[in-house]
């Protein structure tokens, strides 16, 4: 940072900033602390400390079933979203067809549209098609909604890519298919991995769409939701703490992947800015 203006100290602004951070982190800290509280949830200060909730958690079969379901759904959603988001990004980058701008808006719509609308619309489709609601319908919902994330991430990667290599490959007689596998995809590796990781995490946490599409089997958020409705249990604090740890681990990996291609901050913001305007940044 250079220049007289920006290097000025701003103690008030700094204090305000730290207060906002405190607000953002307060619930998370409470959650973690109370997952070790002997008297369960609430009360201050916690009277005693315990690992009881973690013990209960690890013995809780139904909860781990839902974790497994969530992992399956998330993996399949990544496959769908990348499998369609990759060609969608290539199409947006390199082709022109009638209705392209409608297509772009439609792909990105689930990013900004409240989950309830996408969830309900898909519910009506599946009911109309006489499909039973199950993990498959949830997966189709997640995969479809998250194509938006894959498309924006990979599109951003394509925009940064050096075209000369691809042109050289095609000029030297390699087939487009071969060029894609040997040149395009390796160049996009960081974007694809980052997108995959982001989609995986978003799917693990998704509830607004799943809420309308679940059958007999629950995903983890649905399982947590059904327990929350029955009342507060400290076991939820424990699983939440573990989920948080998992998220932080993922974000560390994700950040490393992103900094390899470009400054991570710009891309996250680009995804969000895109979501706001419906236009690839």
């Amino acid at each position: 940072m250079s220049g007289g203006f920006s290097s000025g100290r701003a103690p008030l602004l700094a204090a305000y900033t730290w207060l906002v951070y405190a607000f953002l982190y307060l619930p998370i800290i409470v959650l973690v602390v109370y997952s070790f509280s002997g008297s369960g949830v609430g009360g201050f200060p916690p009277a005693s400390w315990t690992f009881e909730w973690y013990r209960q958690l690890f013995a809780d079969g139904a909860l781990w079933d839902s974790v497994l379901n969530s992992l399956k759904v998330a993996a399949a959603a990544v496959a769908i979203a990348l499998g369609l988001g990759m060609p969608a990004a290539l199409a947006l980058d390199r082709t022109d067809f009638p209705g392209k701008s409608l297509f772009r808006r439609l792909v990105l719509l689930p990013l900004i549209l409240p989950g309830i609308i996408t969830g309900l619309s898909l519910l009506m489709l599946f009911v109309g098609a006489r499909m039973n609601l199950s993990l498959i319908t949830i997966t189709l919902g997640h995969g479809t909604a998250l194509i938006s994330v894959a498309t924006t991430e990979i599109f951003a990667g394509l925009q940064k890519m050096d075209r000369a290599q691809e042109e050289a490959s095609l000029d030297l007689g390699a087939s487009p298919w071969r060029t894609f596998w040997r040149i395009t995809l390796p160049n996009l590796r960081a974007s694809v991995l980052a997108a995959g990781l982001l989609i995986f995490t978003l799917s693990l946490d998704e509830i607004a769409v799943s809420f309308f599409l679940f059958g007999r089997d629950n995903t983890l958020p649905l399982e947590i939701w059904s327990r929350l409705r029955r009342g507060i249990t400290p076991e939820i604090n424990a699983i939440s703490t573990l989920m948080l740890l998992f998220s932080i681990l993922t974000i560390l990996i994700w950040y490393r992947l992103r900094t390899r291609s470009q400054r991570g901050s710009e891309k996250v913001a680009a995804v969000l800015a895109t979501a706001g305007t419906g236009e690839p940044a």
Binding site: A88, F97, I232
Partner: protein, 303 residues
């Protein structure tokens, strides 16, 4: 450079998929909104405007819709008030710790939505952490004193309770608080991005030409960061407007929002057509908003 076959191969699969799983479902939603439910609980495919007339006539829907918009507006304002100064500090004042501080904004974003809503429930509840802190610090004594002295002057029907603090959980206040917490990072990121894109020499020029820091902010930085503000605000407003989980978790009956009505109509009340009409109406509001903000942003970029 790319052959027709290549173009077809990349364009057709996503177009087909998106048509089948987004365009068609949205169209079905639209169709449902013109149908009705018979007395034996089956969907009647008879086209009419009854559902939309019901929306216009029944004040319950109007009131809840307006409440949802008020809550969404409040969340947007609070998120901007919390988010803008933080983004500004990060962009202009944080020096060596910039990257770390930026990561600190992202981490809460990765903590599950449900988990954060639930955490607020444990904080705000009657036996929650906040009331526990008040008891622990004996602030409850003060609150009790205030409660008793105020109640002396109030009619029996208007008595107030301050211990435990009653308005915390199961109120619109709680919904606004939780959703502000959830969407503030979403507001910070685009604002930060647009602040980072401001050429620093513009800021310095303004400073060198004798502008005070405040007028530099007002005439250079703020206008140039507006695209980020608009993107963040749109995000917060739209996602809050469609939220139904926070009201169920912490809203209570006075914190019901429009999506909760839709959920009810698709569940126990079994009136899918009316639910579809409300959902479609929400979609129209969202689209109109996106269209407007997109226009606004384009104009800002041009000027």
């Amino acid at each position: 450079m790319y052959s027709r076959a290549y173009k077809a191969a990349v364009a057709i699969p996503p177009i087909v998929w998106v048509t089948a799983f987004l365009l068609v479902p949205y169209a079905i939603l639209f169709c449902y909104s013109f149908w009705s439910v018979s007395s034996i609980q089956t969907i009647v495919h008879h086209w009419n405007l009854q559902n939309y007339l019901e929306l216009a006539r029944n004040s319950l829907y109007r009131d809840v819709l307006f409440r949802s918009m008020r809550i969404a507006a409040a969340v947007t304002c609070f998120a901007l008030l919390l988010g803008y100064p933080l983004a500004y500090y990060l962009s202009f004042h944080a020096t060596t710790r910039k990257d770390l501080l930026y990561q600190l904004v992202i981490i809460p974003l990765w903590a599950s939505y449900l988990v954060r809503g639930y955490a607020w429930k444990t904080i705000l509840g009657t036996d929650g952490v906040l009331n526990g802190v008040l008891r622990f610090t004996h602030a409850t004594d003060l609150l009790l004193a205030i409660q008793n002295s105020v109640n002396l002057h109030l009619a029996a029907s208007h008595q107030i309770t301050l211990v435990p603090l009653p308005f915390l959980l199961y109120s619109p206040f709680a919904v606004v608080l939780v959703l502000t917490h959830i969407y503030t990072p979403f507001v910070i990121l685009p604002i930060y991005a647009s602040l980072e894109h401001i050429p620093r020499n513009l800021v310095e020029a303004s400073h060198d030409l004798g502008s005070s820091p405040w007028s530099t902010f007002r005439r250079v930085i703020l206008p140039l960061s507006l695209p980020g503000v608009i993107a963040g605000a749109t995000f917060a407003f739209v996602l809050t407007l469609g939220d139904f989980l926070a009201p169920l978790l912490v809203g209570g009956s006075s914190g019901i929002m429009i999506s909760n009505i839709v959920v009810g109509l698709f569940g126990a009340a079994y009136n899918w057509p009316l639910g579809a009409a409300i959902a479609f109406f929400m979609m129209v509001i969202v689209m109109a908003l996106l269209f407007t903000t997109e226009r606004l942003e384009k104009r800002l970029k041009v000027s």
